[in-house]
Symmetry: C2
Subunit: 286 residues, 2 copies
C-alpha cells in the first residue's frame, strides 16, 4: 500500500472512522515535516505498536514566536512521502494553515491549551514565549481529529515530551504517549530538521554541543554533582562561536531545576551557531 496524503480534516475523520470500524489501532506521529532518521525512528516505533500509522506534516504557525524561522522552515513534502512510505506509514495528514485555523485573523482569537507557567518559564519555554501553548494546542487538535491509541514523541524535544505527557494526564486524553530515544549522527550531533541550515563549517562547530553534554555526563559519572562545576565542564568544550542560551539540570520526573545533581537528572542545552538554534540533552543516571 502506498502512503496516502490527506489535506482535509473531514476526509481524515472519515478515514479514521473506517479504520476504527475495522477494529484497527492507530498510532500518531505529529511532525513539522522535513523528515529525517529521527522521525523515521518514531514511525517505526509507531508501526511496531499499532495497525495503522498516521503522521501529520504541518508547520504550525502558532508555535513560532515573532522573529523565528516560520517562513523559512524547510517544507519537503515529496521527500517526506518517501521517508513515510519506507517506514510503513499509511496516511500523511498535511493540512493547510487555513484548514487547521480557518479564518484566523490573530493567534489570540483561538482557544488555547496552556501548560503550567512554572514548567514553561524554564529551558525552551523561557525564550520561546508561547511556544508550548502553540504546541499543546495543535497536538490537542490532532488528538481530537485522529483519536489515536498511541502517539510517539522524540526525547530530543524533552521539555515538549514532558509537557505533552502532563497534558494528557491533566486533560484525560485517551491516548498513550510513547517516548522515543533521541537519534544522533555518527558525529554525536542530534538529528534535527534545523541542521539543514548549517554550513559544513558550522556543523563541525555544532558537534561540540553534543560533546559538551557528553563531557558533563562523564564528569557526573566521575563523581561531580555540582551544577556550576558541570556547567564549567560544558563551557570548556563548546566551540567559542556557539552562543549558549541555556544549560539546565532538571529532575526527570518533575522538571524542577536542581543544583546538586542526583540520578535521573536531565541535562538539557539550547545554543545558537550562526543564529541557528539547536537543542540537545542527556540523562544523568547512576
Amino acid at each position: 500500500m502506498s502512503v496516502q496524503v490527506v489535506n482535509k480534516i473531514n476526509d481524515l475523520i472519515n478515514k479514521i472512522k473506517d479504520i476504527k470500524a475495522e477494529g484497527k489501532t492507530i498510532a500518531l506521529v505529529p511532525t513539522m515535516g522535513c523528515l529525517h532518521d529521527g522521525h523515521k525512528s518514531l514511525m517505526l516505533k509507531a508501526k511496531s505498536l499499532a495497525d495503522i500509522v498516521i503522521i501529520s506534516v504541518f508547520v504550525n504557525p502558532i508555535q513560532f514566536c515573532p522573529g523565528e524561522d516560520y517562513d523559512k522552515y524547510p517544507r519537503t513534502l515529496d521527500n517526506d512521502m518517501l521517508v513515510a512510505q519506507s517506514a510503513g506509514v499509511s496516511i500523511i495528514f498535511a493540512p493547510s494553515v487555513n484548514e487547521m485555523y480557518p479564518g484566523l485573523q490573530k493567534f489570540s482569537d483561538l482557544t488555547m491549551v496552556v501548560p503550567p507557567y512554572e514548567l514553561t518559564d524554564i529551558m525552551c519555554g523561557k525564550s520561546r514565549i508561547g511556544h508550548f501553548d502553540g504546541v499543546e494546542t495543535v497536538v490537542s487538535k490532532l488528538f481530537n481529529i485522529v483519536q489515536p491509541d498511541y502517539a510517539c514523541f522524540g526525547m530530543k524535544d524533552i521539555q515538549q515530551l514532558f509537557l505533552i505527557k502532563k497534558m494528557v494526564k491533566d486533560l484525560n486524553f485517551p491516548v498513550e504517549i510513547i517516548s522515543c530515544p533521541l537519534i544522533r549522527e555518527e558525529s554525536g550531533l542530534a538529528l534535527s530538521s534545523r541542521n539543514k541550515y548549517l554550513s559544513a563549517e558550522a556543523k563541525i562547530k555544532a558537534i561540540t554541543i553534543s560533546q559538551a553534554l557528553f563531557a558533563v555526563r562523564d564528569s557526573f559519572n566521575a563523581g561531580i554533582k555540582d551544577a556550576k562545576k558541570l556547567l564549567d565542564t560544558a563551557l570548556a568544550v563548546l566551540d567559542k562561536d556557539i552562543e549558549l542560551e541555556y544549560l539546565e539540570f532538571v529532575d526527570k520526573e518533575t522538571f524542577k531545576t536542581i543544583e546538586n545533581i542526583e540520578s535521573n537528572t536531565i541535562c538539557a542545552i539550547a545554543a545558537r551557531i550562526n543564529n541557528v538554534r539547536l537543542i540537545d540533552n542527556v540523562l544523568l543516571e547512576v
Copy 2:
C-alpha cells in the same frame, strides 16, 4: 434500569467502552449537581438524541474564584439521583476533587484550556477572572473521558455556551454541542441552583431581573435600538436592592459588544441580591 452512580474515572471509561462496543450513542450533560427543571430539560433533550445519557455532577473547584461560593455551593446528590432517574439518565458521574485533580497543590500546576481573552474580558468573565478557564478545562476532561456524541448546555449560561462551542470548533473535539433553552419559573425568574440561597423576600426582588430583560425586549420590539436607552429601561424596572454587575448587548454570532442594537443581539445581565449572584438573558430579534 436504575441510574448508576460512578465515582472513578477508570470505572466510567470501562463502561463507556462497553457502550461504544454495542454501537450505542452517548449524550453528556455536564452539571454541578443541585439539579432543577432546567437541568432536567437538558437531560430530556439528551435522551431524545442518544441511546445513553450520562450526566456529570461535580462542583468544579477550578472554576470558582477566590471569595466565591465554592464551599457552600449546594450538594444534593440524593435528590440529583431522583431527577436523573426521572429523566432516563443511565449514569451519573460524580467524582471527588482528588479523582479529577489528583494530588493537586495549586490550580496553577494544571494544564488549562483557555478561551480567547477578548471573549472573556466581557460579561461574566470580566468579574470572574479565570472562571471560563476552569470551565473549559473541566469540560475538556469530561469530553475526553466520556467521548460523547452530543453534549447539552443551557442557554442561561450564554457566555459559557458560546465559549464551549468555540472551544469545540477551535480544538476539533468530536462532539456536537446542543444549545438548550433557558427555563423559567412561572414568575419569569430563570431557574438556577443559586436560587436556593434566596429568601422569599429576596426572590420577589430577584424576579425584577427577568422583568428588566423583558422590558428591554419590549422596548426593542417597539423600535428602540440605542443601548443606553435600553439600559435605562432595565434600570427603571430593577428592584432598588439589586446590585447590577453588568447589562450587556452582544452579537449572537460573535459575542462582540454592540451599541446600536440590531436583530440577533443577546441582552445579558448579571446582578446580586443579598450577595447572591444571578444571571439571565434574552435574545433580541426582529
